[in-house]
C-alpha cells in the first residue's frame, strides 16, 4: 500500500526554557504496530502533538529535529498537513458529535457533495450533500472492521466501544491513510470490546498501515505490538522487538529512575485507631472518575495515593470534599460523614489542599493574610468581631495570624499584605498549607502538592508535610503523580487503577512492582514478575562475573 516509513529524527521540544522532549529517535514502518509507552509527563503527548502539527507546538516556538515520512522532511505545520501526509489519529476522548448519525460523523467536513446551480456562483459550500454515497462509504469503512451496526444510527446512546469504532472508521475512510495513532484506545472499553479492537488494529496493520499504539496496559502491548518504544522524562529509553522483552522489563524501564528524594524514616506516632474509613466511594470527576474505592486511614500516618493520570486518584480527595457528584459510605472518627455537604466536612476537621492551586486553592488577587484566614472565617467563624448586629472581619487578628504563619511555615514574602498571585509556586503552596492549618484539621487531604513547583522547593513542601505529621500528629492523605515523592514520605502507598484500588505497596517496594501495578497488573503477579526480572539480572550478572 505504501513504502514510506515514518521517522522522528532527534526531536526535541522546550516550553519556555523547560525541556520536555530531548533527542527522540523513533521510526514506524508500514504495517507495523509500534507501541509507545511512558509515565505521565514522559513526553508521549508532546511527541504526538508534534506529529500532528498542533498549534500548541508552533505557538510556543516549534520543535527541534525532524519528522520524516518516506525519507522526506514532512514539514507538518498544522493538523491539515498531517492529514495530507496520511497520518490519522484516534482520539482518547471521542471527537464525535452525539446528535449526528454515524455516517455524518465519519464524513464530517469530508461530505460527498454534488453541484447545484447555486454552487456555480457561490462556491463549493453551496453544493448539496449526497447522503446515499456518504452512507455507502461509511458502510465500507464499518465493514472493514466487521461492525454490523447500521450507519444511520445516531451516535448518541451508542455503547462506548462502538463510538471508538466510529472514530476508527472515520480515520480509515480518509483516503490514503498511511499511519494511524491510537491514543489509549482501550482505556474506556470492556474486555470483549478491547479484544474486538485489538483484532481491528491487527487487520489495519495487515493492510499496510503503520500504527502507533499508545497504552499503559502492558499486557495489550505485549499481545498486539511488533516493537515497543519507551520514553521516560522526555527522553528515549529503549526501542525493542516486543517478542524480546517482558512486561516486567518494560515496567522497570518506564518507571526506573534514581530516587531524587531520599527517604528518611520519621518518628511518627501511628496509633492503630482508624480515623477515616471509606467504603465503595464513587466520584464523577470528569477525567478522574472513581468507581468504587475502599480505604482506611490510621490516625497519625501519611497515606500515599498514586497511579497514572486519568485513573481516578485525584477523584478520591475531590470526592471526599464534595467537589463533584459523589456516592459512598464514609466514616470519620467513628461517625458517618455526609461528604456531599462540604461545610460539614470542613467543620468536622478535614482540610483539603487542592491540586488546582490557582483555581480552587487561592484567591490570587487577594492579600496573603486574607487567603490564610479565609476558610477559617467561613467555616469556624474565626477572625470575626461582632459590632452590634454586624459581623466584621477582624483585620488586625488576620494580619497577626498571617505573620505568625509566615514565620512558622517560612513563607517568603515582602509583607503578608502582598497579593497571593505574586508569590512563587512553592510559597503559594505554603499559603495553602497555612490556610488549612487555621482550620485546625485532624485529617489533611493533599493533592499534587508539588505540581508546578521547582525541585528545590519541592523538598521544602514535603518536609513541611512530614513535620505536620510528626509534630502536630496530623493525619495526611497525599495524592501525587510522582512516585518518588510518595515513596519519600508516605508510610503506605495505594495504587489506583481504573477507578479502583489496585493494591497497597510499601514505599520500599521495587520500581518494577510500582510500574506493573500502575498498569493494572495485580500485586501478586507484579511481585512475581519483578522477582523474575531480578532473578534474570542476577543471572546475567553472574554470567558476566563467570
Amino acid at each position: 500500500m505504501n513504502d514510506g516509513i515514518l521517522e522522528f529524527i532527534n526531536v526535541g521540544k522546550e516550553y519556555s526554557g523547560h525541556a520536555v522532549l530531548k533527542g527522540i529517535n523513533m521510526d514506524v514502518r508500514p504495517g507495523e504496530i509500534h507501541a509507545l509507552i511512558g509515565e505521565n509527563g514522559a513526553g508521549k503527548s508532546t511527541l504526538m502533538n508534534i506529529l500532528f502539527g498542533m498549534p500548541v507546538i508552533h505557538e510556543t516556538g516549534g520543535f527541534t529535529g525532524e519528522v520524516r515520512v518516506g525519507g522526506q522532511n514532512a514539514k507538518i505545520m498544522n493538523p491539515h498537513d498531517a492529514m495530507e501526509q496520511g497520518i490519522g489519529m484516534v482520539h482518547q476522548e471521542f471527537m464525535l458529535i452525539p446528535g449526528f448519525s454515524i455516517t455524518e460523523n465519519i464524513k464530517i467536513n469530508r461530505e460527498i457533495t454534488r453541484e447545484t446551480l447555486m454552487s456555480k456562483f457561490f462556491g463549493q459550500r453551496m453544493e448539496l450533500l449526497d447522503h446515499k454515497k456518504m452512507a455507502g462509504d461509511a458502510r465500507k469503512a464499518l465493514d472493514i472492521m466487521g461492525m454490523d451496526i447500521e450507519e444511520y444510527t445516531k451516535v448518541e446512546g451508542l455503547p462506548v466501544g462502538h463510538m471508538q469504532f466510529v472514530e476508527i472508521a472515520r480515520e480509515i475512510d480518509k483516503t490514503g491513510i498511511r499511519f494511524l495513532v491510537f491514543d489509549e484506545p482501550t482505556a474506556v472499553l470492556t474486555e470483549s470490546e478491547t479484544e474486538h479492537l485489538l483484532d481491528a488494529i491487527r487487520k489495519l496493520a495487515a493492510q499496510g498501515i503503520g500504527i502507533i499504539f499508545i497504552s499503559h496496559r502492558l499486557d495489550e502491548i505485549i499481545r498486539v505490538s511488533d516493537r515497543v518504544t519507551i520514553l521516560r522524562d522526555g527522553e528515549w529509553v529503549a526501542t525493542e522487538e516486543t517478542k524480546n522483552i517482558t512486561a516486567a522489563e518494560i515496567a522497570r524501564l518506564m518507571v526506573g529512575r534514581a530516587l531524587t528524594l531520599d527517604r528518611t524514616e520519621g518518628s511518627r506516632q501511628i496509633s492503630g485507631e482508624e480515623i477515616l474509613r471509606v467504603e465503595n466511594l464513587r466520584v464523577n470527576m470528569p477525567g478522574e472518575e472513581v468507581k468504587g474505592v475502599d480505604l482506611s486511614v490510621r490516625k497519625g500516618e501519611i497515606l500515599g495515593i498514586g497511579g497514572l493520570a486519568g485513573q481516578g486518584k485525584l477523584g478520591i480527595a475531590n470526592g471526599l470534599m464534595g467537589m463533584y457528584p459523589v456516592k459512598g459510605k464514609v466514616t470519620f472518627k467513628g461517625e458517618p460523614l455526609d461528604v456531599a455537604n462540604n461545610s460539614e466536612t470542613l467543620k468536622k476537621g478535614i482540610a483539603f489542599l487542592s491540586e488546582d492551586r490557582k483555581g480552587v486553592g487561592l484567591l490570587l488577587s487577594s492579600p496573603i493574610d486574607l487567603n490564610i484566614a479565609f476558610s477559617a472565617m467561613e467555616v469556624h467563624g474565626k477572625f470575626i468581631k461582632k459590632v452590634g448586629p454586624l459581623s466584621l472581619t477582624d483585620r488586625k487578628e488576620i494580619r497577626e495570624n498571617a505573620e505568625k504563619m509566615a514565620k512558622e511555615l517560612d513563607i517568603r514574602c515582602t509583607s503578608v499584605a502582598q497579593n497571593a498571585g505574586a508569590l512563587s509556586g512553592g510559597n503559594q503552596q505554603k499559603v495553602c498549607v497555612g490556610r488549612a492549618l487555621c482550620l485546625d484539621p485532624d485529617l489533611l487531604l493533599v493533592s499534587e502538592p508539588t505540581r508546578g513547583i521547582d525541585i528545590g522547593a519541592k523538598k521544602l513542601i514535603l518536609d513541611l508535610l512530614k513535620s505536620l505529621a510528626e509534630e502536630r500528629g496530623m493525619t495526611i492523605v497525599m495524592t501525587s503523580s510522582e512516585l518518588a515523592e510518595l515513596r519519600s514520605i508516605c508510610d503506605r502507598v495505594l495504587i489506583i487503577c481504573e477507578g479502583k484500588v489496585a493494591g497497597e505497596l510499601s514505599p520500599t517496594d521495587s520500581d518494577e512492582v510500582y510500574g506493573l501495578m500502575m498498569s493494572g497488573v495485580s500485586k501478586e503477579e507484579a511481585m512475581k514478575a519483578s522477582g523474575a526480572v531480578q532473578g534474570d539480572s542476577l543471572q546475567k550478572g553472574g554470567a558476566v562475573n563467570g
Binding site: 467536513n109 453551496m126 448539496l128 452512507a135 464523577n284 457528584p325
Partner: protein
Amino acid sequence: MNELFRKITGDSSFDLGSWILDHIVSIIFWVFIILGLLVSQNLQLNVFFSELCDRFYRNAFLILSLIIPVVAGLGMNFGIVVGAIAGQLAVIAVRYWGISSEQAGGTAFSGLPGLLMMFLIALPIAALIGWLTGTLYNKTKGQEMIASLIVGYFGNGVYQFIVLFVIGAIIPVQLAHPMILYDGVGIRMSVDMGNVKYALDNLWQVPFAPFMAVLCLLVFLFLIWNQFLRSSKVEGKSSKLSPLLFGVYAVISVAAGVIFLMQYLQGGVLTEVRKVPVVLVLLVAALALFISWLMNTKLGQDFRSCGMSQTIAEANGINVDRTRIIATIISTVLAAWGMIIYLQNMGTLNTYTAHNNVGYFSVAAILVGGASVSRATIGQAISGCLLFHAMFILSPEIGKAVFGQPALGEYFRTFMVYGVIGLSLGLYVWRANKKRELKQPQDEEA
C-alpha cells in the same frame, strides 16, 4: 396514559411528562388562546383571522431569519435589530428619492421598483453589519446572546445618530423635502411608504376562504404522498407518521378544507376575512424552502457541525469562525429584507421606534413555537408566529372580559413577551443541568 400516547405517536420511547416539559411554552399559549376565544364577547372570527393573517405576513420573514444562527450554535440572535435598521436605512433612502422624483413629476422608485431597490440597497448594508456583528460574536463565544442584545442597543444609538444628525448635517439634503425635519437636519418621526405600500400585496390577491381550502387540499395531498408514495431518501430516516397520527392529521385537513369551502360557497363569516396577498405568502414559502435547502448543503452541514460542537468541527478542519460569520450575515440580511416586507405591509415607518421590539418579539415568537437556544426549525418558526400573534390579538379582549379594561390586556402582552423569553431560557438551562445530573455515579453492579 403514556401507553395511549405511545400508540398514537408510534414512538415507543414517548414520555408524556418530558413531552409536556419540552412544549410547555406552546401549551401555555394554546391554553391562553382557547381561553381568550371563549371569554371574548365582541371579537368576530373574521376580524380575528384578518388580524392574524396580516401579522403573519408581516412577521414570518423576520422570525425565519432567526433559524440559521440557532443551528450554527449562536443561540437567539437578538441582533436582527441591526438587520432591521439596515432595512430601514434602505427604506429611508429609497423613499427620499421617490418623493423627490414625485415632486419633480416623475415616477422613479415608486411601487414595485422602489421596493426592489430597497431590497438591493439593504443587502450590502446588512451584509457589512452582519459581518461586523459576526466578528463580535466570535470574540464573545459563549455570550453571543448577551452580545447580540447589546449590539441591538448600540446599533440603535448609531442609527439615531444617522437619522437625527448625519442626514442633513453631513449628507446634504433638500431643505424643503417632506421627509426632513423643519430645520433641515434629520428625518421626521414617520416616513410614509407612499405607493410602495402594498407593492407586493397588491400583485395578486385571492379571497381567504378558497385560498385556505386549496391549502388544506395541498396539505392533505402531501400527507398522502408522504405516507404512501415517498421513498425515503436515506435509509432509516423515515418521515412516515404513525397510522393513527396520519389519520388524525388527514381528518383535520379534510375537515378544515370542507369548512373553508362551505364558508366560501355559502358566503359565511370567513368570506369577510381580508384577501390573501399570494406573492407575499409565496415569498415566505420560498424563504422556508431556501432555508431547508441550505441545511442540506455542505454549508448547512457545517452550520450544524459548528452548532453541535465547535471543538470537533475545528478539529476536523472546518473554519468555525468563518462559518459563524456567514450564519450571522445571512440572518442579518434576511432580517433587513424582513423589515422591508413588514414596512410595505404597514404603510408607514416610525423612524425612531419601528425596529425597537423586532428582536424581542421575533425571539419570543420562535420560542413559543417550541424552539430552544440550540434547536429551531421552520415549523417552529411558522407555528410560533401564528400562536404568538394570536395571543397579541386576544390579550386586550381577555383584559376587557376579565378585568373590564382592555389596557390591562395590553400590559399583559408585554408581560407575556418577556415572560416567554425568560421561561424558555430558564427551562433550557434547567433541562441541560438535569441531563448532566443523570450522569452522576451509578451503581454499576446494582
